[in-house]
């Protein structure tokens, strides 16, 4: 995930920065349903649930 700071931040290592990013991992599982309405027309819907964990420092 990346973003832009509203106010520039003075970083000890990088100096003044305006953008930053954070790394993380996520996992999810879901269930979907596919219905064939016509020969060349399918409907598909899916519901997922899961979580995301980010590192504590940028």
């Amino acid at each position: 995930m990346s973003w832009e700071y509203r106010q520039p931040v003075d970083s000890p290592n990088l100096g003044v920065i305006t953008r930053d990013y954070l790394e993380g991992a996520d996992g999810y599982s879901g269930v979907g349903l596919s219905v064939r309405l016509r020969k060349h027309l399918n409907f598909f819907g899916e519901v997922d649930g899961g979580g995301t964990r980010f590192l504590s420092t940028t």
Partner: protein, 137 residues
């Protein structure tokens, strides 16, 4: 601004797909000229795009809108193994700590996932063979 970024990302992903299909069609046409017609084979690979809307249950995010492009391989007739690349925009909750410090957040994501499909006719309570007829007398 965020909506325009999301639409732009969708357009980029959406235009990538026809290019790949066009290349594949051209390759198939050349090989079809060199070989006699053969029986239709089932698709081994697939390429998809999708769009989503997510509500985080906690944190400072109000919603996320990912756009995804997926390249997958059929493991058998129903199940696939996919590699997906997605990106999108994030709307922060107004007044939250994150919103006070940052704006225009976005995300990019690599995913490796498996899709398990339960084909019609194998669901519990939906036998593939008709029920036995009850006999009388």
């Amino acid at each position: 601004m965020k909506i325009s970024q999301f639409i732009l990302l969708n357009l980029l992903l959406g235009t990538a797909l026809p290019h790949v299909q066009a290349q594949e069609a051209a390759t198939n046409a050349m090989s079809a000229l060199a070989k006699p017609a053969s029986a239709t084979k089932p698709d081994v690979y697939h390429l998809d795009t999708s769009f989503g809307y997510r509500w985080p249950l906690n944190g400072d995010c109000r919603w996320l809108m990912p756009a995804t492009i997926v390249f997958g391989k059929m493991l058998d007739d129903h199940n696939t193994l996919d590699a997906a690349f997605s990106g999108g925009v994030i709307e922060l909750k107004p007044g939250s700590t994150a919103d006070a410090q940052a704006h225009q957040p976005s995300f990019w994501n690599w995913v490796l996932r498996g899709n398990i499909t339960l084909p019609r006719g194998t669901r519990p309570g939906n036998p593939t063979s008709p029920p036995a007829r009850a006999s009388s007398g």
